[in-house]
């Protein structure tokens, strides 16, 4: 069983701690969800290079050989969700959406619609909405985009490590399988991202 030290780092032989302060942006008050990403780069080094300069990023990165790196403290926020949140009630349970206001939003054109949905959703608390940067940790799986819509398949070694990591985070933060989301589920991202990632 892993532990989390006072710096918000996961201590276990399976995890290499390689923290990049440039991708940490303020305090992360609590962890209510996990968001699974894919890097859109073929090697871990390319992502590390981007992290050196400071950028958007994730708390963990899993290389194609299954090696887990922790790249940001779990006490710190990473910008990983994207600027606009999708509607959870529209996707998961249409009955709990405020139908009158949602109908007005959905009548708008796509660009105005996604901004209005974001504003509507951010007025809610998790789990009524999808997770945001300030209440979630992010896991990146190394993998390049292959075509406009597809990504490299997540390797079996990556998926084994991913399942272990997700299991540890469940325990540390009292989460369940319903608290893990693929990035394109929660914001407007390429639908192929992390589509082959698995967890229990």
């Amino acid at each position: 069983m892993s532990t989390i030290n006072q710096d918000g780092m996961l201590v276990d032989a399976k995890v290499i701690l390689r923290r990049y302060p440039g991708i940490e942006h303020g305090k992360l008050a609590g962890v209510h969800a996990i968001v699974v990403h894919q890097t859109d780069a073929p090697t871990a080094q390319q992502t590390f290079n981007a992290y050196i300069g400071g950028s958007v990023g994730a708390h963990f990165l899993i290389d194609k050989n299954g090696q887990i790196y922790q790249t940001a403290s779990m006490h710190k926020r990473c910008f990983h969700v994207g600027p606009l949140l999708k509607s959870k009630c529209l996707t998961v349970n249409n009955k709990i959406c405020d139908s009158a206001s949602m109908a007005r939003i959905l009548a708008k054109g796509w660009t105005s619609q996604i901004k209005a949905i974001d504003s509507n959703e951010r007025a809610k608390d998790y789990p009524a909405r999808y997770p945001v940067n300030s209440d979630s940790v992010a896991i990146e799986l190394v993998g390049a985009g292959l075509t406009i819509k597809t990504y490299e398949a997540v390797t079996s070694l990556q998926n084994t490590s991913h399942q272990w990591l997700v299991g540890e985070l469940y325990t540390h933060f009292s989460l369940g399988v319903g608290d893990v989301y693929r990035h394109p589920e929660i914001s407007y991202k390429n639908p192929g991202e992390a589509s082959t990632a698995v967890w229990k």
Partner: protein, 132 residues
């Protein structure tokens, strides 16, 4: 002395040319015959033709105004819209395919080469109207 000057000039010109090639894979000013040929949506209820209803000339204008970005920038900083128009264009006598998505992103594919675009000042091209 003159030979040395000519050599330096040649190296300078060559460097400039190579730099220009490296930073701009597609010279958008060389594209022509831009035609819209189709519309597609993976979410017909929420992303409609009216959200990306560009004419042939507006499609060309999109590529002229957009910046060329790598996939990583597109992935990290732009919204992926589920609907898009697509079409064909000519680039240096080659026929190429293109897509423009409702989120003001797009790409041009010429043979094996795909270049990605994102436009931060194209709101007027995507000013879709409410349906009700």
């Amino acid at each position: 002395m003159e030979i040395r000057f000519l050599t330096c000039s040649l190296i300078f010109t060559l460097t400039l040319t190579l730099t220009a090639c490296a930073t701009s894979a597609i010279d958008v000013h060389a594209i022509s015959d831009v035609y819209v040929t189709d519309f597609n949506s993976a979410d017909k209820e929420h992303c409609r033709r009216s959200d990306v209803d560009l004419s042939h000339s507006q499609a060309r204008d999109f590529f002229l105004r957009a910046k060329q970005v790598d996939r990583q920038i597109l992935h990290d900083h732009y919204n992926y819209a589920p609907c898009y128009i697509e079409g064909i264009l000519k680039y240096r006598s080659k026929s190429c395919d293109w897509e423009i998505r409702a989120g003001a992103t797009g790409h041009i594919t010429c043979g094996d080469i795909t270049e990605y675009f994102a436009c931060d000042n194209c709101d007027d091209l995507f000013s879709s109207k409410p349906t009700q």
